[in-house]
Symmetry: C2
């Protein structure tokens, strides 16, 4: 069955709460879900887990932890506490990883932001280990270097993991953030099985909003199949997570959007799985 | 005199045509100018040169050539013709470099865009050599990888110049495009005297427009002085070009904006010239 690796982030079908999303995904034979933490609000974690189990929907990831840099010790400590809570939530719903958007403060220098990020991840390792949940560093596009993440390339993730070890830390590779990188091939190869998450969407031309103008796979210029073959050649065999922030798609009928997601996944992510030169 | 390396791009003071700009810059003791090609329209090149000479304003650069990738041979040939014209214009007004925004077509793969860019630059070398004008490759921020430039890092510029030689090709380093790069230090060092242009502005948080929401130096999070010390340590001694696209500043009184530019240049670009760790 060609959808057996498909997972959808709850934010992608933003109109649906968790009970609705799992019901809709199950009915459409979507076996995986990326659970954003807000979708766990308002009910006990055991109940959210039961919802997933009852519909046979497997959580690919909990989204998201990170945001480690802070201007004060108090702020940094609060971030650590929040990340440990995220790890607890992931364990409670059976997700094997927490996706980290590492954070950045424009008031701090890049080296200071990066130092605080590395220290923050390091401070969460023991808790992650005790739960058997991995910390998945997601490099963010450099257009977010100022205030969302000072970790912007697979290469930087590799550097951090070289330093902290890969027992409890991996990389979540989102095509939206990494597609432009001239060192993509070599750094994915260097990462190997450190890559524990693979997120898909597309880059639109023009892109009109820094956050919420992502495309459905096939609508933009990213050679998603090529990047999939790269991560698979490096050893990745996990779920493929559809993560689309789009005011345009969010305004549509969510059932129709779900149908389009499944169609786009098969056409623009899955087919032509053999490693080959990029299109053209 | 502390302004002796200051140059301003005509687009920065967009409301002023070339005669007005040179008069205003001269009156404010701004000795350099980055001439956008549109500012040469409507009069003979000799007349534009006379305007600069009469006010003792030195052109730091002609902006811009590039946009090499094309979907057809005809389109690629037109780009080459246009780049050769840009080189002619630079020579005519006494500018020693044409800044290249290399281009990208979302319909083409990144490797194909990059191949066409390298071929395009190569095809202009002889003409550049005959005029004594350099081709200054400007790496653009990765948020422009889809349709403005598939050359996004100093590292890529170095790779191209390794391949094509540095006799007639250099690098224009704009802090807006390169500040986030985790390999900035090593690639600027690798570039050395290949860096023939240095452009300044700032990155705003939040940035609300992909093109026209740049900040005046000091308004954003870029450690401009630090990057200046890096390029100077690599051997750069040329003009420092202020290039700001900003609907907000363009809506202001241009005389007041010019005063602020000079003030920001002294405060946030020039002072503390010794190489030191970035701010915290």
């Amino acid at each position: 069955m060609s959808q057996d690796r498909l997972a959808i982030h709850t934010i992608t079908t933003k109109a649906w709460d968790l009970p609705t999303a799992v019901k809709k995904y199950a009915a459409a034979n979507v076996p995986g879900i990326g659970v954003w933490r807000q979708w766990l609000d308002g009910r006990p974690l055991t109940e959210s887990k039961a919802l997933l189990d009852d519909h046979n929907i497997k959580p690919a990831s909990l989204v998201r932890g990170g945001f480690f840099p802070g201007l004060t010790e108090t702020e940094r400590q609060a971030a650590l506490d929040d990340n440990r809570s995220a790890l607890d939530e992931a364990a409670a719903i059976g997700a094997n990883q927490v996706v980290l958007v590492c954070g950045a403060k424009p008031e701090l220098s890049l080296p200071e932001n990066r130092k605080q990020i590395t220290e923050g991840i390091a401070a969460c390792i023991d808790h992650a280990a005790s739960l058997g949940v991995k910390l998945a560093i997601e490099p963010l596009h450099p257009m977010y270097s100022d205030c969302r993440s000072a970790i912007n390339t697979i290469g930087q993730c590799n550097d951090i993991i070289d330093q902290l070890g890969d027992a409890h830390i991996g990389i979540a590779a989102d095509v939206y953030h990494i597609w432009w990188d001239p060192q993509l091939e070599q750094e994915i190869q260097r990462a190997g099985k450190r890559i524990i998450g693979f997120h898909v969407c597309d880059w639109l031309t023009p892109t009109t909003d820094f956050l919420n103008d992502r495309g459905l796979m096939g609508e933009g210029c990213i050679d998603i199949k090529y990047i999939r073959t790269l991560v698979e050649a490096a050893g990745f065999v996990g779920p493929i997570e559809v993560e689309i922030f789009s005011d345009r798609h969010w305004a549509r009928d969510p059932d129709e959007f779900l149908t389009d997601i499944i169609d786009a996944y098969e056409k623009h992510v899955l087919s032509d799985s053999a490693l080959k030169p990029p299109k053209h």
